[in-house]
Amino acid sequence: MKTEDLVALLSTNLEPADRSAAVRTLGLAAGAGVVVALGIAVFGLGVRSDFATTRALIFLAVKLAFAIAIVGLAIVYLAKLMRPGGERNISAFLIIAPFLVIMFLAAISLGSAPRAHWDRMIAGDEWLECLLSIPIIAIVPFACSIWAVRKGAPTNLVRAGALAGLVAGGVSAIGYALHCTDDSLPFIAVWYGGTIVLCTLAGAALGPRLLRW
């Protein structure tokens, strides 16, 4: 085939391009992921029973703020990474800001508590449940964000995969927060933060295979 024939073919009856399609799809995918994660939390795991107490509400708010900050920042960066060359001019620093903030708060919280309480503050009652739930709930949101990123044209597949995993982990944590009754900052930093990082690493590993175009 001659290149000029290909060019002629592609130019015949050209349709306008949809510039906002990729970003719109990403928003849609994140929204769908949130619905799935909330659905699993509400109908599968069950919402925490002490929902109405002030302490529960405060910690729910902290968990949600942490997860929503991660998802929001990750979506902004992922929207850039979905475009060819989007990995230029991106500094990863802002992305880790929510993690730094929660670790800082966790350190203060540990510092002001007696050493004897540390184990319990970090491990909580249900660390294993958290360790398993967040990655498992993240599976469907991850599929959603990969589907969205494939509508774009990422040229750094490891990074785009990692960000898709980060979105999914954050979305999953939004759902899991409704169920989780472990209320301590070190617990959130270690188990929420850790599992979300795990999701990000899984995304980075899968990105090159799933996102090729």
Partner: protein
Amino acid sequence: MMTDEIELKALMLASQEGDAAAHRMLLDRLSSRLRAYYKGKLARIGKAGAEAEDLVQEAVLAIHLKRGTYDPGEPLTPWVYAIARYKLIDFLRRSRASRMDVPIEEADEVMARDDHDAAESSYDIKRLMERLTKNMRCAVEAVKLDGLSTAEAAKRCGLSESGVKINVHRGLKRLAALIAQENVQ
């Protein structure tokens, strides 16, 4: 170099709006630059010109299919360079030609030279078209090869007008995927 960027960007913006003549001119001008870029890269690992043409066509198809991802607020050259380099790396990985590293250069490199000495690629569009589904093949043939309007194509293929548009888009995507498979050796 600067005038290139300005002219090509103007063509790209018009092409995003659906201006076929601008799109054709854009792809023509980019293909001669891509040809020079790929010939230079492949020469370094001892590959011939026909393979450069395969790569040019892969990149042209990618630029066409992904043109919606170009953000008018950004310069065009780095966008083209990112696609050109991505397709080169993908090609090298697929053909296992070498473990050559493709360093990140200045994006301008992709616009540096023209090469109008086009060989034919190894792709046979007719043969590739046979591997599309019936609806995709009919829609692509009617709209893209025979230049029929969407309404005429819909009548010929027995599809709705939106069905024709979807099948043209999916058909071109499928062609790009088939082309990418061709080079696996």
